[in-house]
């Protein structure tokens, strides 16, 4: 766990006191592959937008390090014994880390009838997967913070080790729903098993966070509610994994809330509305991680290039497959307004 001293922290990747690797070698390799896969997926989504194969892009390049670690540590499944995710729209890397196929995101981008999350109804990055407790991601910023205590309350009563995870950005913590989350998660005698995550990219579309919120760290707000808190460099997959592992273990076993703030980058701007072009003055978690992996002899440059090329080809093939899939039928607007007989 580390406090971010500067406004643009550099990753701190070497943590082992013995000189060995900070995490299991296979895990380091797996995290790399998932981060690269998620980046290629997002870059393909942007490309689809620019080629006219979608109306709007919003997503998570720059949050891969933290989001992959989160997905790998989640307990995946349906019902109270598993983790609920109330995510936000920069969460693709978490879904891939959970084992989701990337083609679903491409289908949602192309708003095809085959879109598994919304049937062509919603923007890219708006995942929903009931069999994994992924509640629908929505566009309004921060509403998920008001909803998440509900699943956590059910899990508190149920017992076991299933927890609720809610994520959102820094700008939206100005909304009252964030205060709702802090209050409802820490009612005396009814503290909830909830991991409250803020991925802080220091922007709200075009507005710098430093011009709008006076707190040193958003995580500090949890202290007033007796919550354990931490601030982590979310561009560092190793640090993120370690902090998340500790925080999630605490929430699972103590059944109490934890507020975690992760500093992340926003590598292609807010959305396609601001051009979706690469930002060069923010930390790229993959570039830094690859330098670390190479330096520590975990992966060769050639091996990492192979990963990138393999996923570029596979996701490219998927995008071509999706291109010819049908749009939803006009009459389908009347479907699923209410629960339909299964």
């Amino acid at each position: 766990m580390s406090d971010r001293g500067s406004s643009r922290p550099r990753p701190q990747l070497v943590r082992s006191e013995t000189g060995g690797l900070p995490l299991d070698r296979e895990l380091l390799v797996r995290m790399h592959e998932l981060m690269v896969k998620a980046r290629i997926l997002e870059e393909r989504l942007i490309q689809m937008y620019k080629a006219g194969h979608g109306y709007f892009w919003i997503g998570g390049p720059g949050e891969e390090a933290f989001n992959v670690a989160l997905g790998l540590l989640m307990r995946k499944g349906q019902g109270l014994d598993f983790d609920y995710l109330h995510g936000h729209y920069r969460q693709s890397a978490t879904l891939l880390a959970l084992g989701e196929e990337p083609i679903g995101a491409l289908r949602q981008m192309k708003n095809t009838a085959t879109d598994p999350y919304s049937g062509g109804r919603n923007f890219a990055g708006h995942f929903s997967k009931r069999i994994w407790n992924i509640v629908p991601i929505t566009s309004p910023i921060e509403v998920q913070y008001a909803i998440a205590p509900g699943t956590a309350l059910a899990q508190k009563r149920h017992g076991g080790e299933g927890i609720t995870i809610v994520t959102g950005g820094d700008a939206g913590t100005a909304e009252g729903d964030f205060a709702t989350c802090l209050v409802w998660s820490s009612r005396p005698g009814n503290e909830l098993p909830i991991l409250i995550v803020v991925t802080n990219n220091q922007w709200g579309i075009s507005t710098p966070a430093s011009t709008q919120q006076g707190c040193a760290h958003i995580a500090d707000r949890g202290k007033a509610f007796g919550m354990r808190t931490a601030v982590v460099d979310g561009n560092d997959p190793v640090a993120s994994y370690q902090v998340l592992r500790e925080a999630m273990a605490y929430v699972r076993t103590e059944r109490r809330p934890f507020l975690l703030e992760a500093g992340v980058s926003r590598l292609y701007g807010h959305s396609s509305a601001s051009g979706a072009n690469l930002v060069r003055d923010e930390v790229d978690c993959i570039a830094d991680y690859e330098a670390f992996l190479e330096k520590r002899g975990v992966l060769t440059r050639a091996a990492m290039n192979e990963v990138r090329e393999r996923w570029t080809k596979q996701i490219g093939d998927m995008a071509r497959q999706v291109r010819d899939e049908p749009m939803p039928a006009p009459e389908s607007i009347w479907r699923n307004i209410y629960k339909e007989p299964s």
């Binding site: 109804r121 956590a152 059910a154």
Partner: protein, 351 residues
């Protein structure tokens, strides 16, 4: 006979015993108060929430996501407005996820005028509620319907909003709730919390029987052939009384209690207007973009050649609030005299 507040309490008790309701919650809903209108006294799943309407609706959604069956209360509908995007979201969750998720949740909230509640305890919500696709909206006017509609709401797999006309909450019914003791003083001794210290008190619930009023089904309250009056909530009993007095003048009005606003019983309206050729819609929400305007529009479009007079709407004045003074409240929302006069005038109208 039970009053509407007791009927709702009995329904919630039935629902937590038999229908899987897990949480009845909101501000002052749990002990010791049991709701500002006593509707949740003695319920085993009732609990007090923070004073946070967005949290109440949000947590109801979260509980429903987690497979629970919550009944959330907003203490007065005047305070529901800051939850509007969460209500919209609860209504669109099934659709937005293309059927992946559904939210079995009930939101109950007292609505309307009639208790001299001034600007922030008199509002109606039916016009706004019927702008929320994906919800089912019900509004009883009798204790028995309140009981039966609440039970249907608690059985539904989708979000259901129960609008409770607060002017009628203390009015005793004319029909027994199935399982209710015939003596209403006996019922009160069994289920009404005592004044003073309630820490040792436990309710003695009657053996209730299943009784559900289907959502989407209107009730024909009074038959007639001169005109049709369609209403719900507080104004419904006014329409019935007006019809009784007009009958003495030889005007036989047919009165329909819509009970469900969405989905609503168009067939009942159509069949009645087909017979009478005249229809008056009555409610007390503000009259601009009022739900009754939708009914007028549909009547005009679909039943135009059956009509002998323009369909009429009697609703609340389009003013920013209901003032505290008796004269102001009377002037703002339909009263018995207004309803009677509107019916009399429509009955007399000739092409």
């Amino acid at each position: 006979m039970a009053n509407m507040a007791q009927a709702i309490r009995l329904a919630l008790h039935y629902a937590e015993e038999h229908l899987g309701v897990t949480d009845v919650f909101g501000e002052d809903v749990g002990p010791p108060l049991g709701g500002v209108f006593t509707e949740t006294q003695g319920l085993k799943t009732a609990w007090n929430s923070p004073l946070d309407e967005r949290g109440i609706i949000g947590v109801a959604m979260g509980l429903a996501f987690a497979g629970q069956r919550p009944v959330a209360e907003i203490q007065f509908c005047d305070y529901i407005y800051n939850t509007i995007d969460l209500l919209k979201m609860a209504g669109n969750t099934c659709w937005s996820s293309n059927g992946d998720w559904n939210l079995p949740m009930v939101v109950k909230t007292p609505v309307g005028s009639g208790i001299r509640g001034s600007i922030y305890h008199s509002h109606s919500f039916d016009a706004t509620a019927t702008h929320l696709p994906g919800w089912k909206i019900v509004m009883p006017s009798t204790p028995l319907d309140a009981y039966g509609l609440m039970i249907s709401a608690c059985q539904d797999e989708n979000p259901v909003m129960v609008l409770e006309p607060k002017a009628l909450l203390r009015i005793k019914g004319e029909e027994l709730i199935p399982g209710e003791p015939a003596d209403d003083r006996a019922l009160s001794r069994m289920i009404d919390a005592p004044l003073g210290d309630r820490s040792k008190w436990r309710p003695e619930w009657p053996a209730l029987e299943p009784y559900a009023v289907p959502i989407g089904k209107a009730r024909l309250v009074r038959e007639g052939d001169a005109l049709t009056v369609v209403s719900y909530g507080r104004t419904l009993p006014l329409c019935v009384r007006a019809a009784a007095s007009l009958a003495e003048e030889g005007v036989r009005a047919e009165v329909i209690d819509l009970r469900s606003l969405w989905p609503y019983d168009w067939e009942a309206i159509r069949a009645s207007v087909d017979k009478t050729g005249k229809v008056l819609f009555v409610n007390e929400d503000t009259e601009v973009t009022n739900f009754g305007e939708h009914l007028v529009r549909r009547t005009t479009e679909e039943l135009f050649y059956r009509l002998e007079a323009p369909p009429r709407l009697l609703a609340g004045r389009f003013v920013p609030g209901i003032g505290l003074a008796d004269s102001l409240e009377m002037a703002s929302v339909p009263q018995l005299a207004d309803v009677t006069e509107a019916m009399r005038r429509l009955a007399a109208e000739r092409p």
